[in-house]
Every structure is written in C-alpha cells, then in structure tokens.
Amino acid sequence: MSGALSTALALLIGLDSRLVEIVLLSLRVSLSAVAIAALLGLPLGAAIAVSRFPGRQAVIVVLNALMGLPPVVVGLLVYLLLSRAGPLGAFGILFTPAAMVFAQSILILPIVAALSRQAIEDAWREYEEQLRSLGAGRMSAALTLLWDTRFSLLTTILAGFGRAAAEVGAVMIVGGNIDGVTRVMTTTIALETSKGDLPLALGLGMILIAIVIAVNAAAHLTKELAQRRYG
C-alpha cells in the first residue's frame, strides 16, 4: 500500500504529462457523456413524470431496470453498431473518443431519466394543483419543475458522472485502449494491473477516487448553499 501511495504522489507532484493527458481525456469523455445524457434524459424524465398514458408503469419499470445496464454489454452493442461491418460504420468513429462518449451516453441516459422522473414526480405531487390552477399546461409545468428541482437534479447528474467515470467495460471495447488516443484512467488501471504493475495501478486508482470525491463535494456544497438561500 505504501508503495502505491508514494507512486501516486510522485505522479501527481511530477505532473507527468502522459498522466495529465489520460486524466484530461477521462474527464472530457465522461463529462461530454453526462452533458448529452442530461440534455436528453432530463426532459424525458420530466415528460414521463407529468404525463398519463397507457403502459406508463411499464415504461417506468423498464427505465429503472436499464439503470443497471452492464457497461460491457453496452460496449459490445455499441461496437457492433459502430464497426465497419455494422450499420453506423460509415461514420468511422470506432476507436476514437467520440465512440467512448457515445457508449457512455447510452449507459447513463437511463440513470438520468429514471432519477429525474422520480424527482419531478415527487415535485409534481406538491405543485400540480397550483400550476394547473394558474393555467400551466403539462409540458410547460414539466419545464418549470425541471428548473425548480435543479439542485436535486444536480445529484442525479452526479450519479451519472460517477457511473461514467468509473466504468471500464464500455470504453475498453469501443475505444480500444489506444495509447495516446483512447486510453483513459480506468483502462490504464486495467492495463497496468494485467501487466502486474500494481503500485502504478493503485496510484491511478487513488487519483480517480480523489477526482470523483472532489466533484461530489463541490456539488454537495452547492446544494447546501442553495437550500439555505432558496428554501
């Protein structure tokens, strides 16, 4: 363990350029995926929350179940889509960061949609009468609630980021773990572990955990301050 700690500190202090490149790529890929998943998933979750339609319960159950999609299965499916032999092969984005963003977006979209659906539905219970009394239509109300519950939704988005930053199955398959191109923190840890370079792998792992903790702490602080200000 102490070997891992000193290796990690040495990497950080030295600001090893390859390490920085790997960390930045990891952040770029997972944050891009979260942004896309939020853009699509928040309105989807809100729409389901305020709507009534036949089969609604089934949709909710499926959406919740999809939160547990195994990353390696998503990786395999996206690979089959993006392979030259597959339907989207002509775009040529396999083994590039774009493919990794694509796969991770699919992975965390259900998380964002399902959790925001729950949050908005809870809020809808409180606000429905008042908003309808004011004359707001369902969809307009959904958008209003998305903004009103923004601090709870921050936690939802964080859950998505955590899942994306921590997964290795999807990015390994669709990215190919190419040195200097698609190598991220998790795939590097996997590689170093398989090479038997455990201290380096552990060191990288600690850095990854530290990043996730830092992002969570920042969001928690934001929520606390907002709660105090807005009630």
């Binding site: 032999a85 773990n177 398989s194």
Partner: protein, 266 residues
C-alpha cells in the same frame, strides 16, 4: 442521428487531431512488451503517420480485421494467419520477427527443471510431479503454442484439466499474476516476462529450445474486401516494418539490456 454523432465527434476530438493514421490490430503480449512504444515513434517521425494500436488476443485481433475495423494486422499465430489469408481478408503475409517463449516456475521447483534446455522433457517432468501449471486458456497465440507443445511431448492435456493443470482464460499478465500467487509453472513470452513486475517467487526454469520460438507475421487487410482500409498508409507501414530500417529498430529494442525480438524478414 448524423447530427448527434457529429456533435459527439466534435465534442470529443482533441484539438489538432491526427489526420494521417492507421489502426493496427495486434496482441496484448506484443503491446505489453513495449515494442510498439519503441518502434512506432521512429516510423511516425519518418512518415508522419500515427499508428493506433488496438491490442487484443490473436483470435480477436484477426476477427477485428475480418470486420474491417483495422488496416493492418500483426500477430504471431501462423496457422490462424494462413486461414485469414485463405478467406481473402488479407493481401499477403510477411515474416517480421520472432521472439521466444520461456517456461517460468517457482524457485521451489517441485518438478526439478532448473537450467534445462529441453522443453518437452520439462513438460513431462511437470506432469510426472503433478506440479501446478497455469494455462492462459484463451485461444491466444501463446495458448495455441502451449497446446502444441503438450501434444509434441505426447501428453493428452485435456485429461489433466482440473488437477494440477489450471485453465484460467486470461491474458498473459493476469495469468502470470495467478502463477505468482499459486507458485505454479507457466509458459510465457519473454517480452511480457521481462516487463512483469509482480514476480513473487518465480524465475525462468527452461529456455532456449528451438521449439519455443514464436514467429510474427504482418498483413495488410484486403482493401478490395474492405473498402475503407487505408491502403497507401497501411502499405507504407508494412513496407517499413520489413525494410532494413524497420528491422533495425526492432532489433534495437531492449529490456534491461536484453534483446527481445529477432528480426527475420526475407
């Protein structure tokens, strides 16, 4: 859909992305040996072409190329490569280099192999002693070579599974980790062994037998069958690898002063 992928692509592409690149499908053991880190920068400096290595097991690497997802394949399993060619997926096969396998074992050496140069004799001794042996079991080039050696030694290895013979289904690195943890014998390529840091009680028990030599071949993926293959860039790479300059770069790669790969392009 197209627009979404474009947005995704723009969001994810680094500033100043490489325009000239090829995708090379190769094996995990080759990449982990560090060879590519040594020779590819030389090639890129000369030609400006970036070689992006996707490292998988031999079978997977060839399957990747069969789907048209790679431009060049570089593996070390002669029979699988010939099959690949026969199916029309490759243009031509060239010998590039060979390295060797080594039989690794625990210092306690229950099969009493130490210092031997006969691999078949060594394998027979392991079976006689019932000493623990870890196999990759993943249909990689190394695994296929291992199975061939058991056959040559006259042993029906399928019968021994589960007792002293452990079939793990792992890559070279993880399998070495397992052998170190179990203090077992294992067949490894020299490159992975030299860079392997978690050795525990393991050392080289048998080496130098001609039957342990491992031949590498390179092929351009057939551009007639897979129209997206970067034919000119790929050919440039293949030609360079078998050229005197490329062969010299390969020979120049050392770990702890030891040469790993021996160029033998004709």
């Amino acid at each position: 859909m197209r627009r979404l992928l474009l947005v995704v692509g723009i969001a994810a592409s680094p500033v100043g992305a490489q325009d000239k690149f090829i995708v090379l499908a190769s094996t995990t053991s080759t990449e982990q040996s560090g060879l590519f880190g040594h020779i590819l920068p030389v090639f890129q400096k000369k030609t400006g072409i970036q070689v992006r290595v996707v490292a998988l097991g031999t079978g997977q690497a060839l399957d990747l190329a069969r789907r048209g997802d790679a431009d060049v394949v570089f593996v070390h399993a002669r029979s699988a490569e010939e099959k690949f060619l026969a199916e029309g997926h490759g243009v031509r096969r060239f010998d590039v280099m060979y390295n060797d396998f080594v039989l690794i074992g625990p210092k306690s050496d229950p099969a009493e192999l130490s210092g031997g140069r006969d691999i078949l004799e060594g394998l027979r001794k392991i079976r006689a002693a019932g000493a623990a042996f870890v196999s990759r079991g993943d249909k990689s080039g190394t695994h296929i070579a291992e199975l061939d050696l058991w056959k040559l030694a006259g042993i029906d290895i399928a019968k021994e599974k589960g007792s002293w013979y452990r079939d793990t289904g792992q890559g070279m690195g993880p399998a070495l980790n397992t052998a170190a943890a179990m203090n077992a014998y294992i067949l490894s390529d020299r490159g992975t062994w030299l860079s392997f840091k978690n050795r525990g009680e393991l050392f080289i028990a048998v080496e130098g037998d001609r039957r342990l030599f491992n031949q590498y071949g390179i092929m351009l993926v057939n551009p007639l069958k897979h129209t997206n293959v970067k034919k000119d860039l790929g050919l440039t790479f293949v030609d360079w690898v078998i050229s005197p300059e490329g062969q010299k770069a390969i020979a120049g790669y050392r770990i702890d002063g030891e040469q790993l790969f021996f160029p033998n392009a004709k």
